[in-house]
Symmetry: D3
Subunit: 247 residues, 6 copies
Amino acid sequence: MTRHDGRAVAELRPVQMDTNYLMHPEGSVLITVGNTKVICTATIEDKVPGFLRGQGKGWITAEYSMLPRATESRTRREASAGKVSGRTMEIQRLIGRALRAVVDLEALGERTIWIDCDVIQADGGTRTASITGAFVAMTQAIAKFADMKELPKFPVTDYLAATSVGMIDEIGAVLDLNYVEDVDAAVDMNIVMTGAGRFVELQGTGEEATFSRQELNDLLALGEQGVAALVELQKEALGDIALRVGK
Amino acid sequence: MTRHDGRAVAELRPVQMDTNYLMHPEGSVLITVGNTKVICTATIEDKVPGFLRGQGKGWITAEYSMLPRATESRTRREASAGKVSGRTMEIQRLIGRALRAVVDLEALGERTIWIDCDVIQADGGTRTASITGAFVAMTQAIAKFADMKELPKFPVTDYLAATSVGMIDEIGAVLDLNYVEDVDAAVDMNIVMTGAGRFVELQGTGEEATFSRQELNDLLALGEQGVAALVELQKEALGDIALRVGK
Amino acid sequence: MTRHDGRAVAELRPVQMDTNYLMHPEGSVLITVGNTKVICTATIEDKVPGFLRGQGKGWITAEYSMLPRATESRTRREASAGKVSGRTMEIQRLIGRALRAVVDLEALGERTIWIDCDVIQADGGTRTASITGAFVAMTQAIAKFADMKELPKFPVTDYLAATSVGMIDEIGAVLDLNYVEDVDAAVDMNIVMTGAGRFVELQGTGEEATFSRQELNDLLALGEQGVAALVELQKEALGDIALRVGK
Amino acid sequence: MTRHDGRAVAELRPVQMDTNYLMHPEGSVLITVGNTKVICTATIEDKVPGFLRGQGKGWITAEYSMLPRATESRTRREASAGKVSGRTMEIQRLIGRALRAVVDLEALGERTIWIDCDVIQADGGTRTASITGAFVAMTQAIAKFADMKELPKFPVTDYLAATSVGMIDEIGAVLDLNYVEDVDAAVDMNIVMTGAGRFVELQGTGEEATFSRQELNDLLALGEQGVAALVELQKEALGDIALRVGK
Amino acid sequence: MTRHDGRAVAELRPVQMDTNYLMHPEGSVLITVGNTKVICTATIEDKVPGFLRGQGKGWITAEYSMLPRATESRTRREASAGKVSGRTMEIQRLIGRALRAVVDLEALGERTIWIDCDVIQADGGTRTASITGAFVAMTQAIAKFADMKELPKFPVTDYLAATSVGMIDEIGAVLDLNYVEDVDAAVDMNIVMTGAGRFVELQGTGEEATFSRQELNDLLALGEQGVAALVELQKEALGDIALRVGK
Amino acid sequence: MTRHDGRAVAELRPVQMDTNYLMHPEGSVLITVGNTKVICTATIEDKVPGFLRGQGKGWITAEYSMLPRATESRTRREASAGKVSGRTMEIQRLIGRALRAVVDLEALGERTIWIDCDVIQADGGTRTASITGAFVAMTQAIAKFADMKELPKFPVTDYLAATSVGMIDEIGAVLDLNYVEDVDAAVDMNIVMTGAGRFVELQGTGEEATFSRQELNDLLALGEQGVAALVELQKEALGDIALRVGK
């Protein structure tokens, strides 16, 4: 049996990153992964949340949202519902935490980077696309900021990208699930890694299912491959700025 | 003195309407008016709000939102704030009311059309661009729906478009204000009209200022011109469907 | 055909303004327009909202509410619902904006005027009665305040009143719609004007209907007449204070 | 030492009850107790809350609110705050519970009586004035309803009124505290009683103070006197309907 | 007829107070009254609410909650509902007010004592058990605090305990109602008293019923007995600290 | 260097599970892991959420909360804040999802199991203790329910327990982190596994840190050991019911 859209098990969907997508933000990217499209922006604000004040350290926080018709049937707006769903909060916390792992927050100084990921069209993998795109938007914004403020050190310490892997019946482990595969998958894992190949986040879930140690190993191998390919695309998208990461 | 961006007083900004912009919605348009960009979608749902149930009539309701970085500085998300602002509510009510004026709600039957207008980039005139774009998305969605359900009559009775006009010191009445002009304008008026040249909504406001009857006449003349031009662009964007409006 | 309550098309309902209606507020009016009754109060607070701080300018903000049984059937309290409706927000914004057009905010200094309009009984035209009554309550409060603080200039620059006009089938344009007429009207327009006869706000709406330029002219002519009559009544109600407006 | 406003310790403030105060509600009263003024209305709805459905019994529920400038300094609206305060909830629950003690809920049938008490002007004793006025508004609404539906039995079984008593330094127990006395009182007690002289609610509170059994007895004696006087005034206000209570 | 659980009418259920129940709080008690179990904790914070700032006085505030399955059927969490119920607010206000009657707030200084009462298991009388237990937790926390800060005076001026009494058909007045009795009781009264036998709060309620002066006297007599017994148990639980109260 | 509390790297803290801890719930456990104490209860309700209705399948949903003084300093109640935090939502979703992996939802029928986990005292590992305890409470409730309803099959298919592992500087991988270790740990991983040794959830996070594949392997090995030991304790706690799991 082959994958629903004909891809090989270890094949990413076509990925594109349009940088400087919007006129106002300091960093902005439209990331396209197959039919999934997310606008990622980065904003640097000259203050930190209360719990960090006076420590000489910065912070990164993320917000995530979907247009009501990013999905097959219309999803109610969280603003109308008057509250943010548990799923959205989980994703927001994940994006912020992941990015903080590759930014030297002391080098950033007492500033907050606001990441906004708005899903224009959803076809699976919106949270991993958000992380991958947000890294690019954030790095652009930091580059402008570092020049303007003459920061002594470039605060981005490594690349960061994310993808999903999963176990599908009769196929096994596959890379970069689209929506149909995501629904079918017994096990679904999001993997966030650095350019150096180290793990930042690993979230594996058996929805009404479980997985063995061997299956875990297969999933991790695919994820490592996928992230490495995404990091190459980030370098291209960042152009000259790419050289400053980790320096 | 001339306008900030060199336009003539009666000149619209460049307008573009990309139809079928998203894969999921029945109708979707990316409308671009100068630097203002709004994604408009239309969704038809097979039920009506409680107050209309059993009357054999449909309804149209609209929601409006801006990405946090659609604007120069970051705007807080309404989902995070936990409530929709007064400005947003005003705009949502305006869009819904305006579209209802050109739809035969009995011909639609007991269905609700959900209009979603998401501002990707803002440079003045987001509410009028939303109305103009939403009309196109809605008409597309209705066309698909009318075919599928074999409605006896096409429910869209006329075209509908909107623009803004305003009074600027040392220039006078101008058409289609961008953000800088909007801030400068002593008087600001939103005009919604039909393809037949009748008024649907007129909202004129002097922010800490007032206007005379003569100034009002000048503003209305410009608005009529602008809307007529926008209706021509809507016809182009709709292609074959354009012929069904008002039939 | 004649009007529902026998009035001529250009005839206002009986209007009364009871000043100093409550013991606590600096300015308070019970305005009665036909069966519509609104308590309007004004409170002056010695600070301004954050966005104005340090600019030497004041602000005017308004809140509007209806008693649950101001209406034919009981309306749910917004406090119980936990949120202010879109209609209420629209009205609140309108009242505040209208009053700001006739107050010299620099002369007021860094203070906020809180306007509260509470509808005790509703029979159409509550928002225009609120504006007309609020102007009187505000002017009284400002007069007391100007004396107490010895303001160099009286900050109210002109009179301000509001009324509604509408198009009714088989009758045409009429002035000051009561509730039954408001429900019947195809077109409904709220007009806010100054004592000098200049427009401050114009909000014309065709609810599932449209209107021509000629109809608009007829409506405006009626509105001008109505506002002029209301301004005369405001002068009477204000007594000696009336002479200080615009000086 | 004598009372602040010259009253005897056992003297109520002047009380007035204007029935049929509003045009829309089935029962409405403006109750005036000294400078305290409350509009009380009653609305009968043909359904009961979920927990009572199918039991053949009715329900009475109350809502209470103050205009922002009912008080000396402006109180923030609960609708703007987005939630009802603990004080308001306590009062609402008290009013509903008190009225339920004198209504035969089976005789009412599966209906809900909504009581709305809106304080127009506050000078102490707003909750007890609300109960006293609400009883009159409710009885009027029930009388109309009983006639219309030809209820076999008049559901109001007895009169119900409320007043406050308190201990003031150097004066001792006093009846019907106004605002200044309320602030001064070490002990404050609200007493709700029936026409037959039985207790319905007793809420005595020492705010940073305590009271002895003897002081309690003195307070109760005053309260009994005050309620009896209020019941006589209710009978007058109700006119012919007064004869149907308890029959 | 005898009581449901065989107790005499003037008999408390078995009461136990486990002090230092939790490791983190400065004062904590698990109070058990029959099957009712409440964890009470006290926290002293070095600031006061805005309305008290700069007056050299402290404050005591309480929060109350029930585990969802403290009750026979599951109660929805108030955090999930997004708001605190009227019943909870009433109880919270009662607990705080009661404790403030026996604390010298000037001697406490500008500090807030937070009382938390969490009902683990409910079988009637949770609010009175909360007050009785909270007094112990608070006194422990204050004792530690008084030592640490070397307060010149011990701020707790007297003991404070609470119980409920009620009228049950065919039995009459009974002390310390459990849940089954509470549901049966026509009249229910909560009594909060000091160690010196003075009243702090008295809340008597006839739920769809009324009570005479004689019945009130019977209820008060039982309540006085119950509270006196509870105060003895508090002294035991407090050990050495007991001697500092009122000194 | 050794662990803060002297444990070996692969040593769990002392674990205790008091079953039938509360009188009302069908299943209830007080689980103690070191100083962490959580009350877990299970409630079976005879309906399912809307999205599952009519599919013959059950559902499991979980709620999690901490007493304000479960922690070193007082944590604000989510009920008072009016919303559930992102952290809480994440934990609630995790607990529900984990338990669903070992319950045959078809065998359960159209019922919802509500799991409530209330942290009485927190010292690290509250979410994993919640899962481990909730499994026991749920299995007890299901056993009673299966008997009462004569379910053809026992719906619990396997054991389920959870623990945390982490990387600590100068020590390396350790099992079952207490609060102090959790704060110190560069990498923190929650592992949920079945009695059969399969993974259900894996959530590894580098907070401002990353981890290698080798470190991941070390962490997984410890986690497997810890979960196996916890499952043995669950079997003891369940007594006879233990034999029905997976049958």
